[in-house]
Symmetry: none
Subunit: 434 residues, 2 copies
């Protein structure tokens, strides 16, 4: 998490404890949560972020879009915690009640924030959308506190500091919520705890070996209670979280670095990156360092590999382009796969995967070419070529490497695993051999 | 959900309300939840199952493995609800406190259940593992109630009926939890409500207009408390949830259908689908019905549109393929965009977007072609062509429609919004004009 200095110092609040053990509570707001229509991933994200800076989470609550219940939950939370953080219910519509609920709980009258109003008006004007009164509810900010910038949406967050407590309101859409947690809330709360009693962690990202194998290799490093090493299985990869507690951040970081080095010694190149870097990020970096490029010819993944690579900023330096060759004719037209080869071996075959990779490599004049052909399902499987069968190829200057895999799972899972495996194949050809 | 008859009738409890509106609360127990190490998918699953049988969920709480906090949460829950359901904390170890916490809250002394003891001993003997005292804690069952069978684990569930309340304890592992909810808890609670009281809901998915505008148009339909109509903003679209309560499922469904028809009258073609169908699903369906096809030429979205379309099973019928024309040369090579046009207007221009769409349409001989060019950032922006500027084109047999948009947000968000808008543009050309 970036160490961003928080630009607006708050007025000190006498009764707020300044200690290593700030107590917090999260209140998630939304009837859709209580109806089970969405899973509260935001609450988990925030819980984790709080634990990493040593803020103790007492309890989480979820209430619907119901003012009476929201107020009861806020009252409970303020009775036992220093910090109350709400998620959701900040939209412009009538059933968005969090703003008023927190204002009541913190005895804050709210006032119109001219800056936000101006920003909202500009936002709507730019899009040629008439602004209506309810939109301006989003420009109301605490008198004892302020609003929190939300670069990805119209609803700013709110920060209350009153009655010896901190109240924070964050919007529900994850693409707005997560950056606000990372860039504002965590730096702000970390400053509040005086940086005392730090928890730090790092995630080592592992591809190409399964969870139980990873655990088997590092289990001698998993017995200590500080730092801890914990594996988490993800789709197509394993994350190893190393967490340390210490009096200072420096000491916690030293402990982590030491343990991470021991893990790296055991797992070697299977670790492709740390923290939030996905495997496509590692690949773009490796290619850039080597001054090389890759192009893609995808059948069953339908553009997923290209999309993942181009999701990385600056990928245009290493990725000239790709083709999605879904029909047989397009395989011939776009990647020069001979029609006869398709007839002889079938579109889903080792031969076609390699010809796709080689064909697209020539077409884009790139150092490497990726070729993928398979059956993502749910239809289209046969006893010889069942759903989940995928051929993955990486063609380079010297050779074409092909892997045959059989995945189980939904269409989306099969496609994602295929993209993950082929990206790891490319990565393994790029890492310096030891 | 299967309609399984519950085999053990409970003794009637005089003070328990038997009504259409049984009130429930969920308490999830586990420090790993408060540390954000796992996401509470169980709570969402149970919430949805309860709503489907008309049990009203008041609130959900999450506490750690801490007896004091668990008891406080249970006390709160029993103060306002007829039914309290706990998830997790039923294991054999010391930090599994739910059993004792519920026993205290329900003033139930617990007793050893000989049947469960025998089953546990057999389980351990079969695996040649010595049974230790703490394992036998899992054989303790309520005196005022009983245990609930768990065929997939060692921890049985617990059912308390005392003090005019129902208490239910379920284990945390989803493969144990979910079958117990489906096969025991839901049939049991449905019987308690006398089968009376159903909640049904439908999501109407809206593209092309923003949340506040949607609300403005349907606000006269949002005032009733049954059925309710509630808008939720998603990235690039708005979901309108219509929820109805009634004595019977049929009546609830009739209420929904009636209200949904009123909403459709107001929003018309802006509604592209219902429930879990994404916009790309609606498009594949529309194209299939019309016997038409689409191909894609993507620059800044890097294959995202192709990937979304091909994520729909059976999309190969309507999608021959696409190109990811990231470099200028590839725009010329793959989509026949003249080099001079790129020089004259720039790669990010109205002209190039249309030529991409037209070029790919010819190349794949498809009915429609999609062309996208823009600046997804974070680098590459200029004052004239800032990050977020995207030209979106849909070429058809008659014409090429282009839209110029300015998005704000991260690279991923800009790309996603671009894909969403262009998919909606295609959809609008496909829906029959009224």
């Amino acid at each position: 998490m970036a160490d961003i200095h928080y630009p607006y110092p708050l007025r000190p609040t006498a009764s707020l404890r300044r200690s290593a053990s700030l107590q917090a509570e999260i209140v998630s707001v939304g009837t859709e949560l209580l109806l089970g229509q969405i899973v509260d991933t935001n609450a988990a994200y925030l819980s984790k972020a709080l634990s990493e800076i040593g803020v103790t989470l007492h309890r989480r609550s979820t209430v619907g879009d119901n003012m009476e219940r929201l107020r009861a939950a806020l009252q409970d939370a303020m009775g036992s915690s220093d910090v109350v953080i709400t998620i959701g219910g900040l939209g412009p519509t009538m059933d968005d009640i969090t703003r008023d609920g927190l204002a009541a709980a913190f005895e804050d009258p709210l006032q119109l924030d001219k800056d936000i109003e101006q920003r909202l008006r500009a936002f709507f004007a730019q899009r040629n959308i008439p602004i209506i009164d309810s939109n301006l509810r989003q420009a109301m900010a605490p008198v004892y506190g302020r609003s929190i910038e939300n670069p990805n949406g119209t609803a700013p967050g709110l920060l209350f500091e009153h009655l010896g407590r901190i109240g924070i309101a964050l919007p529900g859409p994850p693409n707005e919520f997560i950056p606000m947690v990372d860039n504002h809330i965590i730096p702000y709360l970390r400053a509040k705890t005086g940086g005392v009693g730090a928890i730090r962690s790092i995630v080592l990202r592992v591809a190409g070996i399964g969870e139980s194998m990873v655990e088997d290799r590092v289990k001698h490093l998993m017995t200590d209670s500080n730092p801890t090493v914990a594996p988490y299985a993800k789709v197509g990869e394993v994350h190893l979280r190393v967490t340390a507690r210490a009096d200072t951040a420096e000491e916690a970081e030293r402990l982590i670095a030491e343990r991470a080095a021991q893990v790296r010694k055991v797992l070697g190149d299977a670790i492709y990156g740390v923290n939030d870097t996905p495997i496509e990020g590692a690949i773009v970096e490796l290619l850039r360092r080597r001054g090389e490029t890759v192009s893609t010819a995808e059948s069953c993944t339908g553009g997923l590999v290209a999309q993942r690579i181009t999701d990385i900023p600056g990928s245009s330096d290493v990725f000239p382009g790709g083709v999605v060759a879904y029909s047989n004719i397009s395989k011939t037209d776009l990647a020069a796969v001979p029609q006869e080869t398709i007839m002889q071996f079938g579109a889903v075959s080792r031969e076609v995967a390699c010809l796709l990779a080689d064909g697209v490599r020539s077409r884009f004049n790139s150092t490497y070419g990726i070729g993928i052909t398979g059956i993502a399902g749910p239809g289209g499987g046969t006893p010889e070529k069942p759903v989940g069968l995928v051929y993955l190829a990486v063609a380079g200057p010297q050779e074409c490497v092909v892997e045959k895999v059989n995945y189980i799972g939904s269409r989306s899972i099969i496609r994602y695993r295929a993209s993950q495996t082929v990206l790891n194949m490319l990565r393994m050809t790029l890492v310096p051999k030891t």
